[in-house]
């Protein structure tokens, strides 16, 4: 296990370099003058020249990449022209809000999705399964941006239980109750969609495991049904679900975009959309880079967890 961990950590380096290269190239490939794109339409010639020198924009691409990467490794992601503040400050402030939202939704997704999936499998072909299957399909088919609006109408307008928007900062002075109240609707919106996906796949996994010989072996040993279902079936079905959950976590990081927009959540997704709309290249790049790097680490964690749970993979 330990050598594997070391190997995987070392492998992180090339993957992260590759991710950074893609993000860099996406910027470098923007048609037109890069300096102009970075500083925005109202930049003066003096600043443009200074930036070109600083970022080696008049030199070949590899040199530009090296200069760019060097800055990033020092924590300098540049300055967002649309906000006139350092990109790094903006990104990390917003990352907190996104992580809070995505993290809450992820935990709920695991509980709801895995639980519902297992129940559907155990009650296969009964009315419970049929009802949940339809609910799950409806969940998968619902555009989260429309679902969010419906929830706002229901629980913020007609039944004014929760605020529809108005969170400006995660570390504001409203305290925990205020934060939770603001979190409720966006987290619910995200959860409904992702847990539907998880439930659907978990149902399939669970059904497959329930028909495996070792479940019959467990029953033939006279083990309590609870042990058979949780200790054997659920546990074995969980292992292949780990990559699925990691994918959903990635979706929550990115898919939060819609929900953040609807609920005016000060997260990173909304920052990306705003950056694209205002053509603030550095801000978009910084946000994308940080989220992508976080996702790479998350996938590593998922791989390690899967290996740890399934000794067959540990070779």
């Amino acid at each position: 296990m330990l050598p594997y961990l070391v190997r995987r950590l070392l492998l992180l380096i090339p993957i992260l370099l590759g991710v950074s290269l893609v993000v860099f190239l996406l910027m470098a490939l923007i048609p037109g003058d890069t300096a102009q794109a970075i500083l925005g339409p109202f930049a003066n010639e003096e600043n443009l020249t200074a930036l070109r020198a600083e970022m080696a924009l008049d030199r070949p691409l590899p040199a530009q990449y090296a200069a760019w990467l060097g800055n990033i490794l020092q924590g300098d992601l540049g300055t967002a022209h649309s906000l006139s503040r350092p990109v790094a400050d903006e990104v990390f402030e917003r990352l907190g809000a996104t992580l809070l939202l995505a993290g809450t939704a992820f935990l709920l997704t695991c509980l709801l999705g895995l639980g519902a999936g297992a129940i559907m499998a155990l009650r296969q072909s009964t009315w419970v399964d049929r009802t949940l299957t339809f609910a799950v399909l409806a969940g998968i088919s619902t555009p989260s941006f429309a679902l969010g609006l419906v929830l706002v109408l229901l629980f913020a307008v007609w039944l004014p239980w929760f605020p529809a928007s108005g969170l400006y900062s995660v570390t504001g002075d409203g305290g925990a109750p205020d934060l939770l109240a603001h979190l409720a609707l966006p987290a619910l919106t995200l959860t409904l969609v992702t847990s539907a996906i998880v439930a659907r796949l978990m149902r399939g996994q669970m059904l497959e495991v329930l028909r495996q010989d070792f479940v019959r072996t467990a029953r033939a040993q006279g083990l309590p049904e609870r042990t058979v279902l949780f200790g054997h079936a659920f546990r074995n079905a969980l292992v292949p679900m780990i990559p699925v959950l990691a994918l959903q976590a990635g979706y929550l990081l990115g898919g939060a975009v819609y929900v953040e927009t609807i609920f005016a959540w000060p997260g990173i997704g909304r920052a990306i959309v705003a950056a694209i709309s205002t053509r603030d290249v550095l801000l978009a790049q910084g946000c994308i880079l940080v989220v992508a790097a976080g996702y790479v680490v998350l996938n590593l964690a998922a791989d390690v967890l899967q290996r740890w749970l399934d000794p067959r993979l540990d070779r």
């Binding site: 893609v22 296969q124 975009v257 053509r279 996702y295 749970l309």
Partner: protein
Amino acid sequence: MKLVPRICIGVLVVAALLALFAPWLPLPDPAATQLDRRLLPWFSEGHLLGTDLLGRDLLARLVAGLRLSLAAALAATLLALTVGSVLGIVAGYKGGRTDGVIMRAIDFLMAFPYLILALAIVATLGPGLLNGLAAIAVVNIPFFARTTRGVTLGLARQSFVEAARLSGRSHLGILRHEILPNVLPTIIVTGSTTFGWMLLETAGLSFLGLGAQAPQADLGSLLADGRQLMLVAPGVALLPGLVILVLVLALNLLGDHLRDRLDPRLRHAPAGAPGAATTVIAPFSTLSTNKPLLHVDDLRVAFNDQPTVKGVGFTLEHGQTLGLVGESGSGKSVTALSLARLVASPPGVITGGAIRFDGHDVLTATPSQLRALRGRRIAYIFQNPRSTLNPLLTLAAQVGQTLRAHQGLTAAEARKRAAALLEEVGLAPAADYLDRHPHQLSGGQRQRVVIAMALANDADLIGADEPTTALDATVQKKVIDLLLDLQKKRGLALLFISHDLGVVKAVCHHLVVLRHGELVEAGPTAEVLANPQHPYAQALVSKSPRL
């Protein structure tokens, strides 16, 4: 066809026709603004669904949006499907370095969160429907590539592909004529569900203002426009949302239906997850007055209403071995599993007969009575040692759990006892084996573990279902010697299921020959083999290969 898929097809056909003929429908110009007719309610004159903030006809805008959304999603799906499937099929079939290069590239695309990558591409190309569509298509390529590669890989390993090669087919011919027809159902199913995704995602980009740009409007832009009016006129926003939901739901339901129809494995899937014990209907209990250890009388088992065991009966005493002999489909395994009601149910149902084990009526036993019998009084050894052990648990855990369940041992006591059992079946020193997982053992060793589990609670009866069929001849010999030795030491009753008359001759005192679920011959082994009466038994004996 069932009702639901019909409705789905109906919905999709209507949507497609509306989209296709939108320009020729008798509707107002969706872009024509009429500032004096703003925000008209539903069913207004000339505006069935009312008008929006600029007085544009909502129905016309909805139909135009539908047309644009469907076109964008279709284009994105076809793009991702074609590129992804070709990559996946080639990678799966060629394997080796080609596979490595393609899949590394795909993995790399997947190193980014799905939507973030799409946003990054839009950030580069700039907002716009075409750019958004391209971005969504690119991020969906890995999905198609991985799915088709997986299926192709499974197919390429099957011998029909090699057989086609030996029949003279070229690689291209194999891809076209052998692989493609088998992958196509997967591509169609994946495509139908992905089409739904694409519809959601392209609309989503437009909702964010990054896809369709005014005056173009797809369903997502309509939703975004309507959002401003949420409080005044919720319908303006919710209607396009509802249209998307209905379309995607129809696509997903249809995709599920297609998958069930096209996947032969699912088509024959049993009706539900097997429960804890086989369902029994109509047991009877006219059982013998003399008391053999096991008495099976007129046992009947059906699968999906097809009778599989049709009235089988026999008895078995302590210390004796009874052979159940027959070919595939004879019902021998089902008969053996019925003794502890372990036949998967659904689909299996015991439809009649009686099973009495040491005074217990098995067919009317409660779940807790059954649990007390299983593993404690009646234990099993199954055929395939590769799949009968839980791959995630150590041997100590697997052997220990039955001890803990029946004897209430602590974890430490169970481990100690498990060690003794492993040594008894020849896995010594046990310390080398306790913490291993099943995949670290050979087939013969695994079968020894299964035997140790069966012995754990001093069961009186062991049902051994083809326990050595998956093993090499020399290993088979050792495992059978072990079983016979343990039987002698412990006075076990053995129910031995086999298709191999040679093994049965060496192991069983009595034998029962089954064919198509019916008992055709029974008696002492030596007598039956020397002088079989039933023509089928005669054929079995005469056709068995001899050394």
